[in-house]
Amino acid sequence: MRGGADVKLRRRGRVDAPVLLGITVLVTLFTVLPMLVSVGAGLTNNFSRGWASGFTTRWLVEVWSLYGATAWRSVALALSCVVVALLVGVPCAWALARSRSRWARAFEELLTLPVAVPGLATALALILAYGELRGFRQSFAFILVGHVVFTLPFMVRTVAAAFARDDLVALEEAARSLGASFLQRFLGVLVPAIAPSIVAGSLMVFTLSVGEFNLTWMLHTPLTRTLPVGLADSYASMRIEIGSAYTLVFFVVILPVLWGMQAAARWIEQRHGALPSHGR
């Protein structure tokens, strides 16, 4: 007992790994300070004169009237992207997890290409191929398809890894031998069993879509601006306080949504985490 306490005291007495600690502190400052400056700049009357010029919410009000619509558009777009990625990606992930053919491996490899290739290239390709279709080009669907091909591999990989678990293969066999149809097995047994992975994949797709700029900047039209596109526009053409206030709007709108989804994911994982290997 006493020996243990002594060791603890000695450990507390000296700073262990001072170099690593120093780097960690510097990195934390490097990461956090720009966020604080940005939030501060969005709430001060005059950024050059600093806090002395007083606090105001007028920039936030101005941003909301100029760009408020982009926030909801981005959230709606990201949610649509999640829905499409789920409908298209989850069945595909199951098929890829159950197939051993070389074609399936090749297709899986192909699917990840939009992630490996810069978004700018994908966007140029989409414009070259479909730029002439006015109705499509000017709609949100044009941005949506870009986001879907970019985010689909994240959904497919995450979910396919879960489908490939041995216990799930056995579970599926058991359901089949009891006479469950494919739809019953898929929706009634498999999908609930891998719910945490589906949620994790959805979260990844949502995060990527809501912050996507490289593709979206090329694909957007004046009527289909998303939040990151609006941000770039305000940075280039508005005073620095407005850009900061808009960045604050991004934090205030997007981060609670993300945190809420992360909390929901953790909750589902806790409820389902034990299933099916150790569960009922």
């Binding site: 790994a17 170099v19 690593l20 780097i23 960690t24 990195v27 934390t28 490097f30 990461t31 300070l33 720009p34 966020m35 400056v37 940005s38 700049a41 950024f47 600093g50 499409v84 298209v88 069945p91 595909c92 098929a95 159950r98 297709f107 192909l110 290409l113 939009p114 490996a116 290739v117 810069p118 978004g119 700018l120 290239a121 994908t122 140029l124 390709a125 070259l128 191929a129 479909y130 870009g146 879907v148 091909v149 689909l152 497919v156 990989r157 995450t158 995060t207 809501v210 912050g211 996507e212 700029f213 490289n214 900047w217 939040l227 941000l231 770039a232 940075y235 620095i240 960045t247 993300l258």
Partner: protein, 266 residues
């Protein structure tokens, strides 16, 4: 049969909105002669842009890896109140669009920024770093660090501590611990994450776009060719060159890194 039915929607979406458009993009430069494909190597202007982008991306990758490994080694092996919170703050920029990171640099190191105020007070001169190579470098490191910190911390949490305790009790010098204990444990992650950081830096557009830097990177060159000069064949050729490069780096890392690379990518 059912499997084919399940893959069909994904195959249709992928073929219609990526594979076929990409094939068209790949075909386009040939309409201006086969030499167009090599414009990135033969035209000094584009070659310069490619070299600049590569040098920047390599530097950003190396610095981010070293710094993030240090942070991972510190955070991965300690328990203290607020550790989870600190980790989530450090990885928060993962959800920021690149344009925000560029804006941060302008805010801090631009003409109206606190850095200029500080140098004005200290040296009587307003120094800015936002609009040149320094600003670009810092911004790229800013969005690279979170991904590397997350991966390194996760690996260090699973790292065997007894090896290092043994080395210490045998009075191994510090550099020997770094070389013989830390490096072998972290090397697969460094390779996998390094490839992802490099590919991301090569293709980063939003950050460079916001900074409008004098130091031109390839994505900006492609964007200018496409929108300002309507030179579609050249823009296509340059984006193919960039895409082949980033894909090749990721592919090689995956081949040599194996499972570690797959884990880092997920």
């Amino acid at each position: 049969m059912i499997a084919a039915f399940c893959i069909a929607p994904a195959a249709v979406v992928f073929a219609a909105f990526w594979l076929l458009p990409m094939a068209e993009l790949a075909w386009l430069p040939s309409t201006k002669g086969a030499a167009t494909y090599f414009a990135v190597l033969t035209e000094p202007r584009y070659l310069k842009s490619l070299v600049q982008t590569t040098v920047l991306s390599v530097a950003v990758t190396l610095v981010s890896l070293v710094v993030a490994a240090a942070v991972g080694l510190y955070l991965g092996r300690r328990e203290f109140a607020g550790r989870r919170l600190l980790l989530s703050v450090l990885t928060l920029p993962l959800s920021f669009p690149g344009v925000i990171v560029g804006f941060f640099v302008i805010l801090v190191g631009g003409r109206q920024g606190p850095f200029a105020d500080l140098t004005d007070a200290l040296a009587g001169q307003r120094i800015t770093f936002a609009y040149g190579l320094t600003g670009l470098f810092l911004a790229y490191v800013y969005f690279s660090l979170p991904r590397a910190i997350a991966s390194f911390t996760a690996v260090v949490e699973r790292m065997d501590r007894e090896l290092e305790e043994a080395a210490r009790s045998l009075a191994a010098p510090r550099w020997a611990i770094v070389r013989d204990v830390w490096w072998p444990a972290l090397q697969p992650t460094a390779l996998a994450v390094g490839a992802i950081l490099f590919a991301t830096a090569m293709g980063a557009f939003g950050t460079a776009f916001t900074l409008a830097s004098r130091y031109e990177v390839l994505p900006i060159t492609i964007y200018n060719e496409f929108t300002n000069y309507a030179n579609f064949a050249l823009a296509a050729s340059l984006s193919i060159a960039l895409g082949v490069m980033t894909w090749a780096v990721l592919f090689v890392a995956r081949r040599f890194g194996g499972a570690a690379a797959a884990g880092a990518a997920a």
